[in-house]
Each structure stands twice: as C-alpha cells, then as structure tokens.
Symmetry: C2
C-alpha cells in the first residue's frame, strides 16, 4: 500500500525534473542505501513531503531549493518503523508519545491499542486514531484481535467479535489485525478466532502473530491459519524454527525485558534477513527519556552480535515490506521524506530527524513548532459500585464454613511479583466472619475488581508479595484493566479505590493512611502529561513505595497480576484463573 | 495479497497438526530456504494444494500421507515466478504455454497481454484470462498501459484510456498495470497516462515500469509518478542508478537479446538484492523446447558472475514480494505448494516440478494428465479492404509529381533488419504511374496495412533489407500488429495478404509464386498448436526464407519494423514515423 494517498503528482514530477524549487535539500550526507547496502555521498531534494531526487556526485540542481540542511558528513538513513508497540504502555497519549519518540529517529509506529480496546472498545481506539492525527509521528493502528484476552475467564470493558474487528479494519489508518495472541484457538480453528482472522484475510490485510514457545506442528497450524509474524520468541531454537517456516521475526527489547541474546543466537547461520524487523512492544516513559526507542533495540542487538547496517535495514525497509508499505522505509524518489541523520550506524541518538521533510528532532530534542492540545474532557472509566466501604475489601467466609479457621488457597510463588504463582492450601483464622491475616507478616490481600460496572470482584490471599504495609493499587492490569488492589488493611485498600475512582484511574500508593497518586485519567491507562513529567511522577511515587516494599516491587507490579494467558494462576474479576487449564481455582478449599 | 483466496483453513490446520493424512509428502530433499539462505534436509507435507508442514530431521509424521515423492537427495526450491512476459511472443495460447513452460520449473507468470490488447482490446485480454484457466500454470495478467504504443502515429485494433484499464484492473487475476512504456508522458504528466497510472495507484496495485536509457531527473520524475520496476536497462551505469533509486530490477535474457553482462555489472558492489527479480519478456517456442525459460536466464546470469543461490531467491521470493504475493515464492506452511526439485542451483532442467502439490513436470517432460481443449472458433481479426489486388501494392506517384522520375525518401540503415533506420532522398524511375524499383537490386517495397478495417496503408521503399526475391509478410508487427508485407513484385505482396486474410493471420513467405504459411489464427498472433509443432513449422518456413534472403533475415524480422517508440524511423499504417520527434516523415520528397 501507499501510505500517503494524496500526493500532487504533477508538482512532485516538476520538482524532480528541476522545473520548480524543492522545499528542502539535505546536503553533505552519506546515504546508507538500505536497498543496495552501499554508502555514498548524496544530496536529497524534498517537495511536498516526498523525496523527489537523490542526487549523487556530479548531479547538480537546476534550480535552488527553498531551504538547505547541512548533514556535516554524517549518515542519512530512513526513519525507523516500529512494527509492534502498545502506546498505552508509555502512559502517554499518542500526541505526546510523538514528541518523545521522534527525536530518537522513529517516524512510524504500528500500534496495537488493545489496552484501551479492553477498557473502552471501539470508541477507545477511535480516540487513539483521532489523537494520533495531532502528531507528526506516523501512527498506524492494528485492530486488536483478543479483547478480552480469554473469553469467560475475565470481563473487560468490551468484548470484540469479528464484527468489531471488521468495523475497525474499515477505518482509515487501520492496517491489519494486531498480535493474534490466542494461538490455541487459531490452531484448533475455534469459530470466534477463525472469524476474526478471516476479516483480515478477506481484506488482504496484515496479520500480526504472537506465539511464545510455539513450535513444530502447532507452529505450522498457526502459520497456515494466517498470522505470520512473532515478537515473542523465548529461545534461539524457537527463533530458528519460526523464521525457517516463513515467520517474520520482530526483534524486540522492551522495558519489560530483553531477549536479544537468544534471538540473535537463533538467527546465526542465516544468509538473508529479509524477514526480520524491529519492535519495542512496551516502553516506559523513563526509557524514552534516557535510552530511546528503536535505536536502543538496535544497540542491544549490536551487543548481541548482529551487524549494525543490517539492523538499520531491518528497522526501515524490512519493516515497511513486512507491512506492505511501498513508499516508506527507503530514501528514493517517490518515498515519503521520513529520514534521520546519524553519526554512526550504532543506535546512538540522531543528529536530526525529519518527518515529511520537516525537521522534528535535533540531538534528542523535539523541535517541531506545534502546540500541545489543550487538556480535554475524557469520560471516567472507573465504575466500581462493589467497592463502597472498607468492608467491601474483607474476605468474608461463605456460609457453611467454620467460623474459627478456614482453609484458603494461598497464592504462592518466588518472592518476585513477576514469578508464576500456584496455590497452596493454608489454614487461616477467621475474625468477625472474615479471613484474618494479621498474624502472618508474609500474607497480604489482593482484590481484583471489575471496573466497568458489573459489580464483580475477587479477593484472595497472597504470600510474599513484598509489600509490607499500606496498599498499592492500579487501574492498569493487563489485559482487561480491571482494578488490582494489594493491601494489608481493608481501610487502605478502600482508600486506594476511592482515590482512583475520583481521579478517573491511575496508580495509588497508600502509606501511613495517605494516598499518593499517579493520575491516568485517559481510560485509567494514560496521562495527558508529557514524557518528562510522567517519568518524574513515577519516580517520586516509586520512592515512597520503596519505603514500604521490597526493592523489586514497582508501581507497575500489579499490572501483570491478572494476565489470564500466562502459564500460572492469576486473579481476575471472576475468580482465580489457571492459565494452563483455562479454568477457575476456588479461593477457599477443604 | 494472498494468491489463492479460498482455502479450507480447517482442513489445512488439521493436516498441519497431523490429525488427518496429507495428500503428498516430498521426502529425501535438501531445502534451499530462500528466506534464510540455509540448505538442510526436510520432508514437506502438502494438503489441498498448500504446504502444511516442512519437517526437519527428528520431526516425524503422526499419520502417513496419501502419497510420497522421493527427491533422491536433490534440492527443493520454490517454483519460479516470471515477473514480466508476453505470452503472445511464444505464438502459443496460454494453455499450451503452460505445458511448455512448467517442466522448466516456472510455475507462475505475470503476463502483459498488450499484443492481443492492441489487436482485440479488452475482449482479447478476456480470452487470455479464460484460456489460462485451463492451465496448471499460474497466470496473472497486468492491464496493458500503452495500447496503442503511441496515440496518433498508428491505429491498432483498440485504444485504451483509463476506462479500459480500470475495467481490466477490476477483473479476477489482474494484478496491476503492465510495463508503462510511455515514460515521456508519465514524466510530463500528460493527462491520459496520468489517468491510467492513477487507476492502479488508487487500487494500491502493482505498477510495472519500462524505461530504457532513462536516468537522472527523468528517472526521478518517472519513479515519483508511480512505476517502480524496469526490465529494460541497457547499461551497467543505468542499472546501478535505477536500483539505488528504488527501482526493482528485473533481470532479463530473452530470445530477442541478452543483456546479462551489463546488468550484472551494474549490480556489482551491492550487498542486498531484495529489489532484483527475473523475467523473460519475449521467448520463442524453439528456446522453450531447447534451453528453457527462467532457468535459462539464471544460467546466463551465473555466467555473468551472479551467485546461483541468490538467483534462485530472486526468481522466487523476491519476485513474489515485488508483486506483494505473500503465499508464493517460498516453501513454508501456508504457502501454495508450487515447488521444483533440482540437481544443482545452476539453472539446469528440474528433476520434478509440482503445482499445488501435483506433479506436472519430470526431467523436462510435461506429465500432468490433462487434455488439450478441442480446437475452438476464433474471430478472424484480419480486415484489409484496402488490399484487394496486386495494384494495391504499387507505390503510385501522387498528382502533381513528374511522370518520369520521383524523389523518394528511401529507408536506409545498416544491413541488419534490426538496425535503426533513417531516410535518404533517392531519385527513382516511375512506370505506369508507380515507383519502379526493378532497376536496383538493393531496393524493396514495404507495405504496412491497417488490419482492423480502417483501410489505411503506407507503402515505402527500403534499401538493403536482405530479401532478394519473393515476399515476406506477417500480422505480427509490434505493437499495433497491423500487417507488414515486404515484396519486390506487387503480385507477391498481394499473395501474402490474400493468404494471411484467408487463414486469419500469421506469417507468409512467397517464393516462386508459392505461399508458405505459419498460420496464427488466434488474433493473428498465436497458434493453437503445441510448442514442438510451432517450433518445427517455424524452422521449415525459415529454411525456405533462407533460400531467398540473407542469413540474418528471420520469419519474425517484419515484427519490429513498426515499433513507433524506437529512436529511428519506422513504418505505420498512417505513414513513416520518426520515433525521436514522434512525427511523420513523408514518403516522397522534393
């Protein structure tokens, strides 16, 4: 597909022929040509946002351009294309993300808005599309395929069938279907997933995959089913098998983890890398402030042994071709003038970044002269009628159980929040009809409360979560984004819920009966604040958290406690869920 | 795009999982993986025409396949894709071409039916599409962009505007716009060409280029205008500039000529070849019998210094990606099972060729058990009311000229038919009101007669054409395919025309007052005969021609005498045409 549909062909041709002045000429640069692999000096003429000529030595302009940019002998390369990223993970809205990301050389992102999709459905994704229009960053959207992640085990703010996916696919700037995570149902041709994927197939659109650990016959069945990319390989062996079987590998290194060593190892021995591109998946504001974006993934993979030039090609031309964009990802006549000037092909911050020929970044600073939109009203998505008092945070013993002690399925694991959990029965005292954990320092309550008005909630006892007093709560809880509250005392849990409801969502730490907030009023996921402010606020609240919790507990630790697709037991608004058997586990036991 | 739309996803997934038997397993082969560049042993399972698994060592089948093919340790590679070919040049109809071409390993061709388009318009192209459906060969069609080649300088059987092109683009199996030869009008944004290209752009379809000798600002303007492939580069310098500027280079070596050395030279120093594919353009029946098709182009480019493995990738994966086919050109789950087994990656004839998992070729023989369609009626496209007697072949002197001698613009050139011509005034005798060339052995008449009923014709005097007696005529005359007749005596010229009209077109040699025919009743371009018969017939008629002409005169020599786009003077039904100035040159002068 051509990514910018309306171009004044006549004007561009005239500029190419030298009949009219170009808007900009970038001179004194060495082009790294991602099509041929060569490096040679050029001057590049831009008109109306498009590259109209790439002149080599001896090819003079007939008529002077309106402006010039001196590249001072540095390298000129296309802007980066991120093949898979969740905007919501940055806690920024699309127009602010644009400002944070462009100075690092990324000029196009292909986003999966499945976080806001889970909260607000199609309307949330429309907001992302609309807000992205205020930005210089080229933001394409993929229609989320798995809202909610697992039907029946949790309730989100929306549930997509092929109907919603079809509605999204027909919108401007929606270019395919986002990471089809439910590979089990793809493989077994379950009807809902079949129908969703079919909407993409019948439109000849891009189908993004997601299949950690999948190999052999399962991988083959998944590929036959349509999705043919993956950014989730865990082992070198898996990467090797996937690319050999025609899967596009999206090299990833995110704020949540870095698999560069295994993935690079899996590509060893390959002669061609056409099916390799680069993505960030989840990046936090602080990383965007300090180490960057796609450029940082490149740094990681250079460390892991891949070639710098090859990585720049993967992040540009290969990414564009993976999506079928044929006027992005290279520097040649007819291509959109998204370019960056870099001192070396090593992932360092660009000297200059251009979008459609406009200078938007210089030495890490955003320099485009556009204004942030005034703050706008956004509906409060936190609807928790079931949490009206501290009593609602107590784990009451159901009728028919003993009034003195009760056997509870306690969620145990490694001391890390991130570790997979299983349940172990434990006899706990009962006080005033509710489970009493005050006698065991290692225990804590976790409540997952539906925040879309259903009134459902689950309260369970966890062991060794690392929070020693107060409470930690958040409206970010993948993928349904119900509210998770971790608390010793019911009063602290209730304070979190009350404050998060008042401010339309976010993260709340209670210490000494006082609430400390990171307000995320946009769907309970994002702030309207810019990158630096969000990053600072997270740092401040994290400092308070550190005084009441172990060092490995983070303000985002509750965000991964409800992921119903991971191979352990997690908490959803409908109960404790075993991700392996995809069934419920009771909170109480015999 | 996915090339075969309707697949039974559920069935394929079951076969991938090993739940049902595959139709075929190819075993004992070494896969050359065009995605990674590796070579390793595999077994490939095929179900319902699709590859469902590519099993490496240690990956066993759960259930036996319905049939097996033993590759005897040879290489397995995808079927070739020809990125640009004119079926009509083979003189075979699509279903016969299929039988000739498949045993050489080519399983997909992207055709430009502009020859039949010039003769019969949209209806002719519909015939090609319909007839191709009887074949195993995957035949995609591109909508001809330049019918006729140059408006106003010749009249063909049809004239396409954007309306006809749009009608074609909306047909099944039409995948883009064919070689946009009229680069001058693209560059200068002339309305008709602009509108034609725009039909492709607005459908996001493939735009094939064609721009010999085009470089610098003209090349940039052409690329900005849309077409971004070329199979017509004449020099190494041109190739280098084109690919650096984002043009896909289609390596070609056709029956009409071999530019492999210059083109290979132009790619020297490149590290990546993603934008290089392979095409044949024009291949004659005899070459298809003896040296092959895409495989022969590969042989030529290996001789010219390119790497064999790289060439197999160009002819498969690169070609598919150039067109945006994402289930062709590789051997991986979900891809169409078009494959070949070869003894070496050197362009030699495959041991076996499969289309959708069906064995169609073995050791150069077509082995599929389908029958040729019974011969069918086809309209006679030869309509020449202006050629009713020998007198119609005389070059009469117009009123107002002397009755004794006349100054004629004689078409002169090198002794080769192929050489570019210019005119030189020469005083010739007049006899009974017509130019008399009987006194000069070196002179001969050429008549180009419109064969679509307009009644127009041009008769001119040529020098040193190499035909010494009799006549040579053909209804193949690029691109309008009017009738060209070369003759010493008017009677011989008339006999040619009469015979060609009777048999609905073809090639006719008159020797000693006797006509020798190659009948091409399908639009005056193609026969219904198979490759071997056509080849034999050509050889026989050529032998007769050799007795009355120089050795460089071929039965197809008249086919290139009316190409109004070449930089010399040619003959059309409307007059003598200067290809450089795109204007007429008079037959008589002062």
């Amino acid at each position: 597909m051509r990514t910018r549909k309306h171009k004044n062909m006549s004007l561009l041709k005239q500029a190419a022929l030298g009949g009219i002045a170009s808007d900009l000429t970038i001179k004194n640069v060495n082009l790294f040509n991602v099509i041929t692999g060569e490096i040679y000096p050029v001057e590049v003429d831009v008109c109306d946002g498009f590259i109209v000529r790439v002149r080599e030595e001896g090819q003079q302009q007939k008529i002077a351009s309106k402006s010039y940019y001196d590249g001072q002998g540095n390298y000129l390369v296309p802007g980066f294309i991120d093949t898979h990223v969740h905007v919501e993970s940055t806690m920024m809205i699309p127009e602010n993300l644009s400002r944070a990301i462009l100075p690092w050389g990324t000029t196009t992102i292909c986003t999966d808005p499945h976080e806001i999709g889970n909260v607000m459905g199609v309307e949330g994704i429309k907001f992302m599309l609309e807000n992205a229009k205020n930005s210089k960053l080229r933001q394409y959207v993929l229609a989320p395929s798995c809202v909610p992640a697992v039907v029946g085990l949790e309730e989100a703010g929306a549930a997509f069938t092929s109907k919603e996916v079809a509605e999204l696919l027909d919108m401007d700037d929606v270019v395919g279907i986002a990471e089809v995570m439910d590979y089990v149902n793809v493989i077994h041709d379950e009807k809902r997933m079949h129908d969703i994927v079919e909407e993409g197939i019948k439109r000849n659109m891009f189908l993004q995959g997601h299949c950690p650990h999948l190999m052999d016959e399962g991988l083959a069945a998944y590929l036959v089913g349509g999705p043919n990319t993956c950014h989730e390989s865990a082992t070198a062996k898996e990467v090797k098998q996937k690319i050999r079987n025609g899967m596009h590998i999206n090299l990833r290194s995110s704020s949540l983890g870095d698999g560069s060593k295994q993935i690079a190892e899996g590509l060893k021995g390959n002669e061609y890398y056409d099916f390799v591109s680069i993505c960030t998946d989840d990046v936090h504001a602080k990383d965007l402030l300090t180490v960057g974006h796609i450029n940082h993934v490149i740094e990681k993979y250079i460390e892991a042994g891949l070639d710098g030039k090859a990585l720049y090609k993967m992040a540009t031309l290969n990414a564009a071709r993976e999506y079928g964009f044929n006027d992005l990802g290279a520097i040649a006549p007819g291509y959109i003038a998204d370019m960056q000037i870099v001192k070396a092909l090593d992932g360092s911050c660009p000297v200059a970044v251009f979008v459609e020929g406009q200078l938007v970044g210089e030495n890490g600073k955003y320099v485009a002269l556009d204004k942030l939109e005034e703050s706008f009203d956004f509906p409060n998505t936190v609807n928790i009628p079931q949490l009206n008092s501290a009593d609602d945070f107590k784990l009451y013993v159901p009728e028919g159980y003993s009034k003195d002690t009760i056997m509870v399925n306690v969620m145990v694991s490694s001391p890390m929040f991130k570790g997979l959990r299983h349940v172990e029965p434990m006899e706990l005292p009962v006080k005033n009809g509710a489970v009493d954990i005050s006698g065991d320092e290692s225990l804590i309550f976790v409540c997952n409360a539906n925040r879309y008005g259903t009134g459902n909630k689950t309260i369970a006892v966890y062991k060794d979560l690392g929070l020693h007093e107060g409470a930690l709560a958040s409206t970010i809880a993948h993928d349904s984004h119900n509210m998770n509250i971790v608390y010793k005392r019911a009063e602290d849990g209730y304070l979190c819920a009350k404050k998060l409801k008042e401010c339309s969502g976010g993260i709340c730490i209670v210490k000494d009966g006082k609430a400390n907030l990171i307000e995320l009023p946009i769907a309970g996921l994002m702030s309207q604040k810019p990158c630096a402010e969000i990053s600072k606020q997270i740092e401040e609240v994290q400092k308070i958290l550190a005084t009441i919790a172990d060092s490995d507990v983070h303000v985002l630790s509750t965000a991964v406690m409800s992921l119903t697709v991971i191979p352990g037991i997690v908490i959803s608004d409908l109960g404790l869920v075993d991700g392996v058997t995809q069934s419920f586990v009771s909170v109480f036991t015999q």
